[in-house]
Amino acid sequence: MTVLICPECGAENPLEAESCRECGASLVNILPSEKPGEDFPGDEPFDFASQDANDLPGLLQSLKQEDDLSTLDETQEPSEPDGSEEAPSEEPQEQDALPEWLRRIRQRAQEEEDSVGEITQKIAAAKDTLADDKQGQQHENFSAWLESVQKEEKQKSIEDTTEVEIDGEGDREPQPGDEDWLKRIRKIKGDTFEEEETLSPEDQAGDSLLQWLVALESGQATAQEIPEVDSDETAPEGDTQAQKAEGEEIGIGDGDTMPVSLIEPVLDVSREEQELADKLRSTIADEKTARPERTREEPAAHWVVLLILAVLLIGSLSLSLFFGNQVRMPQGTVLPQNEAVLDWAEDSEDKTAVLLIFEYAAGYANEVERVALPVLQQAIQPGTTIGMAYSNPSGLLLSERLIDQVDDYLKLTDLGYYPTAALGAYGLTDQTAAGWEFIDYPESKKPLPEWPFSAVVILSNSYEGAAGWVEQMSALDPDRPIYLLVTAQAGPLLQPYYQSGQVAGMVSGMTEAAVVETLLAGEGQALVRWRSYQIGVLICLIVIVIGVILNGSELSTNERRVRS
């Protein structure tokens, strides 16, 4: 069959195709070629197994039938002891030596053609065929013919032994874990394997597959790898024509071999694939090339620079906390979200109950406290009920630390710890009076103060935690104002919630905290800390700029050196 082979991807296409069905490349002006793998006579598949092996499915099916038959024989055996008949007259002495049950089997085998089972018939037929083939080949010389005659005699004796042993129990007991089909083979073959081991390989050729399977299962034989055909030996380099190697043999057991025909797979390599293979080969060769170990060269003054930098950073930050005048923030830096918080804090209306959510870790406590304290000190009045809920394990301790700095005379209600923000927000907000309830269901929640709170204030250091509370609360109770007092890290991602109206106001980070504190109290801790924060950020900026310039110039020098 002729096909069009794509020059780009090597795919086979029908003759009438104008473009490749795989890659779409044009097939115009491409000459048709023979389909690879079909120029061998017989059109046979690549098969290492012999004919006996190909008959294996039918063999296994016959085993099943044989098993049924043997079961039937076992059930009928007790009813037959009185039905024994006289032995054939041609072998009186041998019949006398044989046991009674064997005589009956032989007699039945002579009377009924199917009594020996299909498997035995197939084995015998396969042996006859094999012997005939060999006979035809070996008649070419006389000595070989004589040997074949001797082997025929041996073959007959083996067949007799095989027929005798068909329904007999072998000495080898089935091992635990044996497959059913293998047990059946062992049951049928019995000890004949041991006898056949003494035969020549030619005599064993018909049964070699079964023997090999049993030997492999019992550990007497090992699976041998199929010998690879070295393409360098069988074909010259670059030759892509199909090659056929005849006369190869593969091991199937201890010393046994099976003649097979090895057909080397067709390798059609395009130019692009060849180039890629060459690149891969060169890459692998390059990787395997021995190179001198590269040692990292650190300048001697490296640690001195680092030490100076650390001292400068720590010293300037520490000194800025104790020296210098307080900073006054400019009015123009007040953001809209800050103004909303300021309005709520300065408004004296309806602050009877405020819900505080503590969603920050201990490491961020100083920053969050600087952000929250000015607002809470202004917003919370004496007599205000404060509900506190936490979605951080340290929330209880952090909340008490913060509340102690706000006012000592607050009505506090501890609403407890919620392992996740979403669950806490849902559980706290969902105060809908249900028309029904579970009878005798234990009350697991602490009694809530009178809902609704006038406002919800979320103190957080992360976007995820604050967003969980905001999304659930704004969905379940959209009219309740939510204010965010968060770190600079969480601020940018939470700002869209303010712009969408889900959050009423927000203060994030030290800079905004300093602005809010300036407007609310005029002075405070946030302003003092903000000076240190400013100096620290400034040092970082200088280091980044200098470092980038130095690293960049060094990189450019190296590039120039490489180019030269």
């Binding site: 490491g363 849902y426 700002q495 712009q499 400013q534 980044i544 980038v548």
Partner: protein, 205 residues
């Protein structure tokens, strides 16, 4: 059978909670029950994690493995915290100061190390990535946001500067909105996949 049962349970619970947003009065007791169970299970999971951690440190200590000394310190800290928490209550000022005066500086120090690491990474950025548009743009954005955050510029009486600063401050918001939209869509898809048992985070995936 087990997979089918888990998938059915997930589907029922998920759809019930979802329906709770629309039929709150009718489903409120069921939702309260589910929420309570969820909180309870999370608490038990925390206890199991605690037990596992203690067992691991004990094993490391008794086997004299490397780092056993640190395991001893961790176990002592755990025992002291537990004992003081049981004797006093978490509301006691002594217990609060005992925990927070250790926890706050330790966590803050780790965050400081993180800041220095980020600073060093920014220094190495050009060396590792070279002078590319991405690396230069990233560094320029970082430096610009730090400068804006310092509030050095006085915007009063200069409307052009105020407009420019407002524009520059709005750029990160655009990125933030993009990230949030992506997270919301991803969350929606993951929720639907779990509801329809395409993903099984509760089982073999």
């Amino acid at each position: 059978m087990k997979k089918m049962l888990l998938a059915a349970l997930t589907l029922i619970v998920g759809l019930t909670v979802l329906a709770g947003y629309f039929f709150r009065a009718e489903l409120s007791p069921v939702l309260t029950l589910i929420i309570d169970w969820g909180i309870l299970l999370l608490g038990v999971a925390g206890l199991i994690g605690l037990g596992y951690l203690v067992r691991m440190h004990l094993a490391r200590l008794f086997r004299r493995e490397k780092g056993g000394f640190y395991s001893l310190i961790a176990l002592l800290g755990f025992v002291f915290s537990l004992a003081f928490g049981l004797v006093y209550s978490p509301h006691h000022p002594f217990f609060r100061d005992l925990i927070l005066n250790v926890q706050v500086p330790v966590e803050a120090s780790l965050l400081a190390i993180l800041a220095v690491s980020l600073l060093y990474a920014s220094l190495r950025l050009i060396r590792t990535r070279g002078w590319t548009l991405l690396s230069v743009g990233f560094l320029f954005g970082a430096v610009l946001s730090l400068i804006l955050n310092l509030a050095f510029f006085r915007e009063e009486g200069n409307p052009l500067l105020a407009e420019m600063i407002a524009f520059l401050r709005g750029i990160p918001m655009a990125g933030g909105r993009g990230i949030l939209l992506g997270m919301a869509l991803g969350g929606l898809i993951v929720g639907l996949r779990v509801l329809f048992s395409i993903n099984r985070p509760y089982g073999e995936g």
